[in-house]
Symmetry: C2
Subunit: 228 residues, 2 copies
């Protein structure tokens, strides 16, 4: 590996294109996370892919958590950047929420990371966007924080749960519907005296539409906001 590196370094141009940078590291991390899940992000796998030593990565990032948040932030920034402007606020919030939902569906590790990165850049990006729309909605100053943080917490809560589901399903090599089928069967076998509600909705679980339910929750909160 060191020989390869030295040869490349001898050719100035190629070396330049291949040289490490925070960006290249983050992109490699995203590729690893997307293709093989959260457990696949190790410094060994990362340095192999980047054809460098493990220690080199530490010149550009502080530690693994820093890298995970940077990767998460890159995805969130892309999603928010692609969002159209100039809508009526309610629609803008719904569109933002749905795009985040879809992004987390495509990158479960983003959901897991968001769910534990309070106050960090990726969550602040979302907070800001929601905040601007809540203002546009005409919510008075002293009620804005409650409205914004309710929406944000709800989105992050769903993110975390979906990420957990996706991870469990991956660990058992099941697709989404098989996994929900298993969960439904476990729920339906719980003691009906203790778990009457869970029992009664177990059957709906495999057929239900996560995305529609998520949006229904957003609408519930929006409806509560506009009611005041």
């Amino acid at each position: 590996m060191s020989r390869w590196g030295m040869i490349k370094m001898a050719h100035g141009k190629q070396r330049r294109e291949d040289s490490l940078s925070r960006e290249r590291i983050v992109e490699a991390a995203i590729a690893l996370l997307d293709s093989s899940g959260e457990s696949a992000l190790t410094f060994k796998a990362l340095s192999d892919r980047l054809e460098t030593g493990a220690g080199a990565i530490y010149w550009h990032i502080d530690n693994k958590n820093d890298l995970l948040i940077a990767a998460c932030d890159a995805v969130v920034a892309r999603v928010l950047g692609a969002l159209p402007e100039n809508r009526i606020p309610q629609e803008a919030i719904r569109a933002l929420a749905l795009d985040m939902f879809d992004a987390i569906d495509a990158h479960p590790w983003v959901g897991a990371t968001l769910a534990r990165s309070a106050g960090q850049l990726p969550t602040v990006r979302i907070l800001e966007r929601i905040g601007q729309q809540v203002r546009a909605l005409g919510v008075p100053d002293d009620a804005q924080w409650a409205a914004v943080s309710a929406l944000l917490s709800y989105i992050l809560g769903v993110s975390g749960q979906n990420a957990a589901n996706a991870q469990l399903a991956r660990a058992r090599n099941l697709d989404r519907s098989d996994f929900l089928g298993e969960m439904s069967s476990v729920w339906s076998k719980l003691d009906p005296a203790e778990y009457p509600f869970t029992n009664s909705i177990a059957a709906q679980l495999p057929a239900h539409d996560d995305r529609a339910d998520f949006l229904a929750g957003i609408d519930l909160i929006l409806s509560g906001i506009s009611r005041r």
Copy 2:
């Protein structure tokens, strides 16, 4: 795997008082997590505390994740068990939410674990309780799931964020108010052109009441539910 064998011994002899059991392991794990945080739960620390070998623990639990969920479940079961019955449904939901909030404030690792344990026993316990109250509220069958999952996701979302905050604060050896002060100062230094909302609420951050905000979010959702 002796999930069941641990209570009854074949020869009916009383088990030594200090012998291992799933319960004792879970209690030791809770003590470790509470006193020193999530990173303190290792098989070495656990076996030291239980005065046994690391491998012995595996006779009673499947793996570390199993243990973490069992510990989380023990706390959740205790909180829900202590909840008074016979209230009007809205109050019951608020009380449940607040008690969970307080429990997570006291045990941040519970929040972190809940935020990534979709469909597992601890989240199902909460789901069931909320579900019973949503039914009592008179929400029609086809709207129950949306209402329940919105409340649950919101609670778990706040849990995860609070746990993340508590963990970050612990890692930097800061108390809650110093930590929020730091976060506020970071937020207020963000580019005002890009982060106008975040900028404007940064000042409120250190003084705001997490618990009251949390409850305001619950009320927003309850209000949306009762509006339909």
